[in-house]
């Protein structure tokens, strides 16, 4: 069939219009909410502290994202009347020498542990007083594009209180009582936040992953051949999930043998909860059966809308939708019947949900537009996504908050510039 010039132009115009519309659709968020939240109450980390906790808040947040599975779920609840209980400015390298390198905090054994690019610091969770500071260490640092992430990796706290930190040269174990180096595993580069169990420590570097018992003896080592900076591995009952050059890989934690590989390229950490591994990709959020490696389901919000950084709570999945050219949105997905069903979504700009309790999702986002807008931790209600309160850091990069540690009744947060702060109930004598 011959196509004359007029017909050709008609077809070309229609194709361009359709293509442009489809491309535009993928560049925008699928969330109808496009306004930043207005929290009912805002607490500045610079407000005068109300004083130490009477007792250390119960509960632990021993590694980045809270659990070995990296779920980000703390359970329990947080008080509505949240206020600063203590604030400590850490002695971190100046911005000229070491950049804004304070890590996200971890909590275990009554201690808050924070790393910067050169050291690990331990504070009392009750008072914020220094317990120890390690000798200089080449802590793993990678400049992140995401405002809600820290540049330095978070240390992990083991069951006995010892501290494990990834470095540019391997894995280092510190004595939990004084911060002295107990042992080091070498032959790894840019080690991600490790996972610690009663049996041992799993540490992922750029090239390989090792399993080491808690005395420092290496049990196995497997190549993952990943050139990119490693993301934190996730641990399930009988699986260690790592990102590798060929996708997401499930390994036997006892032997390191490969159980399965899923051909999924992920940019953020995998999460393991129960029998499922959750990975976010540019195609959507995928649930992988940890026993077989088969994909149980994929949840998508359309082409070119990546779903990243999942937080897995008891009956809710929080995930960040990142379109190609627009601001991100958080989605709360109901998972009570197995497959995810959207409950609410909220505009995040360049932020992300990083933690959750039984009834709240904690997101890091900017509360306004422009260079003077403050970064804050905002608490959204689980059921309707209402912003109950916010913990405001500041507008300068050194005041940007990192993913907080959440324990029962308290939140511990740090800023990139080295301020550690604990918030708990105020106004009742604590």
């Amino acid at each position: 069939m011959a196509i004359d010039r007029r017909r050709f132009l008609e077809l070309a115009g229609a194709a361009a219009a359709t293509g442009g519309t489809v491309a535009l659709a993928g560049c925008t968020s699928s969330c109808p909410d496009s306004d930043r939240p207005t929290p009912d109450r805002t607490v500045s980390i610079r407000e005068t502290p109300a004083g130490p906790f009477d007792e250390p808040p119960p509960g632990d947040w021993p590694t980045l994202h809270g659990t070995g599975g990296r779920t980000g779920f703390a359970g329990g609840s947080l008080p509505d009347r949240l206020g600063v209980r203590w604030r400590t400015d850490l002695d971190v390298p100046s911005t000229d020498e070491g950049s804004l390198s304070t890590s996200a905090p971890t909590v275990g054994d009554g201690t808050v542990v924070v790393a910067d690019s050169r050291r690990v610091h331990a504070l009392s969770i009750r008072t914020g007083e220094h317990r120890w500071r390690s000798d200089p260490l080449p802590v793993t640092v990678h400049d992140t594009l995401y405002e809600y992430q820290a540049n330095s990796v978070s240390p992990a706290i083991g069951p006995g209180g010892d501290v494990y930190v990834g470095t540019r040269e391997g894995l280092t174990a510190l004595d939990g009582s004084d911060g002295s180096v107990r042992w080091t595993v070498g032959g790894l580069t840019d080690v991600a936040p490790p996972v610690v169990t009663d049996e041992g420590v799993f540490a992922l570097g750029r090239e390989s992953i090792t399993a080491t018992d808690r005395s420092g003896e290496e049990r196995w080592r497997r190549s993952v051949g990943r050139g990119a900076p490693p993301v934190a591995p996730a641990l399930g009952d009988s699986i260690v999930v790592v990102t590798a050059d060929d996708g997401v890989r499930g390994l036997d934690p006892a032997t390191g043998d490969e159980r399965w590989t899923a051909d999924r390229r992920i940019e953020t950490h995998p999460v393991v909860d129960g029998g499922a591994c959750f990975v976010g990709t540019t195609e959507g959020l995928h649930a992988i059966d940890v026993a077989s490696g088969a994909e149980d389901w994929t949840f998508s919000r359309g082409d070119y809308r990546a779903l990243l950084s999942p937080v897995i709570a008891a009956d809710t999945i929080y995930v960040v939708e990142q379109p190609g050219e627009a601001g991100a949105a958080s989605f709360a997905l109901d998972r009570t019947d197995g497959t995810p069903d959207p409950r609410w979504c909220s505009y995040l700009g360049s932020g992300a949900v990083t933690a959750a309790t039984d009834d709240l999702a904690l997101a890091i986002l900017s509360l306004g537009e422009g260079p003077d807008a403050a970064q804050a931790i905002v608490a959204f209600t689980k059921s309707l996504g209402q912003a109950r309160w916010a913990i405001e850091g500041g507008s300068r990069p050194r005041d940007w908050v990192t993913p907080p540690a959440v324990v029962d009744g308290a939140v511990v947060a740090t800023t990139r510039g080295g301020t550690a702060v604990a918030l708990g109930e105020v106004g009742t004598g604590g």
């Binding site: 968020s29 207005t38 929290p39 309707l384």
Partner: protein, 211 residues
């Protein structure tokens, strides 16, 4: 058209006018608070459910009611109407068909932008074209009915054409929308009563034919 049908269209017209005011009631009046997030399935009968589920349905019902009123009027008077009433009536019918299509399209695209970009453009385009057709057609219709034996419908349309923009400009928020919708309700109320009480064709100028 049968008298019974015309009376039904009259009832639909009155209902459409009333619903037009109701759907423009500010959401804060029935308890909707500003929200920080978009909730996909609001609890039934909650203010958010009224705003998200009930108001869109009533909006579509209102548009259909207004459309049926004009269809009934044009159908009743077609045999005796002059050019102004015929062209104006057809134009208003076409415009309200467009509005009736655009309202659900826009409401759906607002609910699900993921699949609604084309729908949004289509809804906005059809809505804009409908408004362009509606204004001159309503002027023609008002002119035509001002020349009939019962000119109150013409006055109602004139009141609509003047009242909506003036009230929309003068009345402050949050009462602006329902007050600005009142002339629509009055015009379609008069239209509904006209169809209900006078189902016979209305001739123009007392001579039965204004063509």
């Amino acid at each position: 058209m049968a008298r019974g049908w015309l009376r039904s269209f009259g009832g639909a017209s009155i209902l459409g006018g009333v619903l037009t005011v109701l759907v423009n009631v500010p959401s804060t009046w029935y308890g909707l608070e500003p929200r920080d997030s978009y909730v996909f399935d609001p609890p039934p009968l909650s203010p958010l459910w009224i705003n998200r589920e009930l108001v869109p349905v009533l909006s579509v019902a209102a548009a259909i009611g207004l459309l049926l009123g004009v269809v009934g009027l044009v159908r009743r008077d077609w045999s005796v109407a002059g050019r102004a009433r015929r062209w104006g009536g057809v134009g208003v019918v076409v415009a309200f068909v467009g509005v009736t299509v655009a309202v659900p399209a826009l409401l759906y695209s607002l609910r699900d932008p993921a699949g609604g970009v084309l729908l949004t453009f289509a809804g906005l385009g059809v809505g804009a074209l409908s408004l362009l057709v509606l204004v001159p057609s309503a002027i023609l219709l008002a002119y035509g009915y001002l020349k009939t034996d019962r000119p109150r419908l013409g006055y109602a349309f004139v009141g609509l054409l003047v009242g909506v923009p003036v009230l929309g400009f003068v009345v402050p928020e949050p009462t602006k929308a329902p007050v600005a919708a009142l002339p629509i309700a009055v015009a379609w109320g008069v239209l509904g009563v006209e169809l209900f009480r006078h189902p016979d064709p209305l001739s123009g100028g007392g001579n039965g034919n204004e063509r």
